[in-house]
Amino acid sequence: MNVVTPFEGIGASVRRKEDLRFLSGRGRYTADIDRPGQAHAYILRSPHPHAAIRGIDATAARAMPGVAAVFTGADMAAGKVGGLPCGWGVKNKDGSPMAEPPHPVLAVDRVRHVGDPVAVVVAATRAQARDAAEAIVVDYAPLPAVATIEEALRPGAPAVHDEVAGNLCFDWHLGDKAVTDAAFAKADRVVTFELVNNRLIPNAMEPRAAIGDYDPSADEHTLYTTSQNPHVIRLLMGAFVLGIPESRLRVVAPDVGGGFGSKIYHYAEEAIVTWAAARLERPVKWVADRTESFVSDAHGRDHVTRAELALDGEGNFLGLRVATRANMGAYLSTFAPSIPTYLYGTLLAGVYRTPAIYVEVKAVFTHTVPVDAYRGAGRPEATYLLERLVDVAAAETGIDRIALRRRNLVSQFPHQTPVALEYDSGNHAATLEAALRAADWDGFESRRAEAKARGKLRGIGVSTYLEACGLAPSHLAGQLGARAGLYEVGTIRFHPTGSVTVLTGSHSHGQGHETTFAQLVADRFGLPVSQVEVVHGDTGKIPFGMGTYGSRSLAVGGNAMAMAMDKIVAKGRRIAAHLLEAAVEDVEFEGGKFRVAGTDREKTIGEIAMAAYVPHNYPLAEIEPGLEETAFYDPKNFTYPGGCHVCEVEIDPETGHVQVVNFTAADDFGRVINPMVVEGQVHGGVAQGVGQALLEACVYDADGQLLTGSIMDYNLPRAEDLPSLSLSHHDTPCLTNPLGVKGCGEAGAIGSPPAVINAVVDALRERGVRHVEMPATPARIWGIIHGGGPKGAPAIAAA
């Protein structure tokens, strides 16, 4: 029997099992799948930000070569196709429900953003479908549009939805206003600050794709899709859009090339291909190109915030008041309402003891692509606000920025915040000090002087962060408006010869689950990682699942596996007791072996599996044959990863270019299964955070046209924009889940933007700069250095 090698269990940096497949081009992505007889769909999209549709003439298109069908919104409505549902309801301050206007799969009489789908052509080839789409005549009557929060809230602004007064989706709040106001009344000092959290376009490496396939003999629908959560798509699309029972709808999310949140949501194209395939009795495939992704994938962030921090004379935080306006885009994407509310307002305590917090959030419709979760989802917005505010407070009170942080850190656990969360564990002083030490914070001034001699402005910035991961206790999520449970499901299937298949409702789209989860199981059963296969992404194989987002896969999905493994061990002990002729309570399990305590009589888990499947000598009267267990794990609390990032930048004052020259992260992710995979997650997250801070901005012009509609104008980070990162982790186990794990997928993107901007502001401090908006582009920095900003400066270059 195989024995675990010491380097493959929990804590080992096992090389990713999936990488050979990916690196050698053997990955199987949705676009790689071709179904027999399949046709191709092309979606005709609105070129207008806002227009009435007076008519659609598809006569010529329908007659073009290869065309199988053209469908419009009217056809979908006639076919009883429902609108796209929203999965989270938020209430207004007065308890009334948010505005939830319809989100048709294809626009019916009005288009509301550039990229809004208007018609679909299905043809034998993709090129034929596109040719025919160009022949569709849509009679648009353009209408005035609003692209920004400010414009949308202006009295008399054009309405995105006629039934939504003032374009206000909801006006929500959290925290005790009276207590917070009282805290401000007794403050020695109040620091006020306004800032923007820039709108981002996710840009996963793999564009979205979907294939609908219908088997008329079984009346069974299959959807292949680029999704982070196939069961959620099956539930939403089956129940709300197409009216197909789960038993006749299979959703497969095969290899997926990055999601970052943008592949959580149920998108129109999934419903379109599933519906069209059944209607035409022919598989229908749609693959987005990059240009299409820019106007059809949900965007991220886009907040404008005013915040006030109340301090006493010694620098203790007394209260925090936050007023945020958040852009929802033209329609509510699946989880959009939860992002600027429960994933944002609840995080405003951060790692600090601030006793009174009150936050109010107005969510606003605009004529732009819907906005939803993007890596971090509300938590980067909260962290950026808080950590910029603390730096501004330090500058304005004259208290050293590190001392101010140290003074206010949470150090006792559990800790109840005034914004609903109870932190179970953490050691924020340890991560702060570790990051400062690793970054040689104390030696910075000599580096600043050396840079100055070279004509460069060098700055250093620090940011702490805390995130709530492992979404979520279902009863709590339900109280807060979630319209689904947020548990996870794991199955451990031992095969007769001792290998294991793990079925998980989590979905891996770059996270390395096939390795990490295999390690988790291998460790428990004393198996080599090669004996454990992880299966995910297919509702036809996996019992159920809620998918991967919010750094939840290990914290929720991993714990479901742990519970299923407990069940396997419990059953195994009973089988072993029978085989070893001992009492169950005398059988111990360790390192993959069941042993009668105090003896050398033992059975390996492989022998137990064989006995379970070949039950010749087996207690059949008491135990069922087979060795397979499933568990649903519903978390007791969120997990609270946290840490500290330190960034050092050099600014070229002649060009305004900012280069990140050092970056240090000290994180607490709870128990770590594979340190190398965790480091990879932090690398990617930091790259995206540096991207938000220095490079990325989604810009619409005043009329609602997208100016950053390709990577020629939307600035994604490149290798040259990043230094080698200095990473360490200082883990305190999570106390509320069996594995003690917290999650690491979003931390890099949450902690890094404020560290970068704090460093940029530090570099410019001697020039009297209080704040620099993201992204800190060369033109923006140059405008600040040279005063007033360039004449007629457009959005991402303005000072």
């Binding site: 090129a127 190109d289 990577i711 104008d713 600035n715 582009t777 033109a779 140059w782 270059a797």
Partner: protein, 265 residues
């Protein structure tokens, strides 16, 4: 991409004949601009005339006081050529710093120059070095070749065959990349030619490559950073967009000129 016919002629004469017979046909060299345009359906030629089968269009030679580069020579070949590195090191360095690895292994000098993207690198070198453009039918001096954004003196059907660079005594190039596309936001190529004349070419900042005559005059008198320190590029007519205003680009011209001069030594 729309349908098109594909030709791969083996000689310049054959290529020119196809292009002359069909005014809607387009020559394709490395395809680093044309292929994306085709994929986006922004171009709809009836035919593509692939120039990669024409041996006469390739190669790098030193011809006395001139460096002659065939139009179909790839950026990577220029970047790594000992002949170029010895004759005009600034040109080899420019080739090594444009696009990315894939672009440098596909894109060609002639393709880039014929396209005359205002944000491309080579037009600055060709203009500052006073290159001569040899076509299938004539020779065109740099001052006449570039005619503004995506426009050149090439007639319909006329093929660029080779570019002749006079070997300068000093040459240097510096650029600021557009933060998003990483094309040139503002670049300056300075050259002191063998006859003692000085030429300064600006790319990226304006609607096409142009000579900065004030800097040329100053550097002709004194080849030093001090000589151009007080010269301010007029922002009037320069590009302004979400990545930077015309004023910013005008400022960068001064900074890049100084840095190009330092490169040139």
């Amino acid at each position: 991409m729309y349908d098109f016919a594909y030709h791969k002629p083996g000689s310049i004469a054959d290529a020119v004949k196809i292009l002359t017979d069909d005014p809607e046909a387009r020559p394709i060299s490395g395809g680093q601009t044309l292929l994306p345009a085709l994929k986006h359906r922004l171009a709809h030629p009836t035919a593509l005339v692939d120039l990669s089968g024409i041996a006469e269009l390739r190669g790098i030679q030193r011809d006395g006081d001139r460096l002659v580069i065939g139009a179909m020579t790839k950026h990577y070949e220029i970047q790594t050529s000992d002949v170029v590195k010895t004759a005009i090191p600034a040109l080899a360095k420019m080739a090594g710093n444009l696009g990315d690895t894939q672009v440098r292994n596909r894109g060609t000098m002639g393709g880039s120059l014929s396209n005359n993207d205002p944000a491309a690198d080579y037009p600055a070198a060709a203009m500052a070095l006073n290159a001569t453009f040899r076509t299938d039918r004539r020779s065109i001096p740099a001052d006449e070749f570039f005619q503004g954004m995506f426009a050149t003196a090439l007639e319909p059907g006329e093929l660029l065959v080779a570019i002749e660079f006079p070997i300068p005594t000093k040459a240097g190039y510096a650029k600021m990349r557009n933060p998003a596309s990483r094309y040139v936001m503002a670049g300056v190529f300075v050259a002191k030619l063998a006859d003692g004349s000085v030429r300064v070419a600006v790319n990226g900042a304006g609607p096409g490559v142009f000579r900065q005559e004030e800097m040329e005059a100053a550097l002709a008198k004194s080849w030093s950073a001090d000589a151009i320190a007080g010269i301010r590029q007029d922002p009037d007519g320069l590009n302004g967009d979400i990545h930077g205003s015309a004023e910013y680009r005008a400022h960068l011209v001064g900074v890049m000129a100084k840095r190009a001069l330092a490169e040139a030594g």
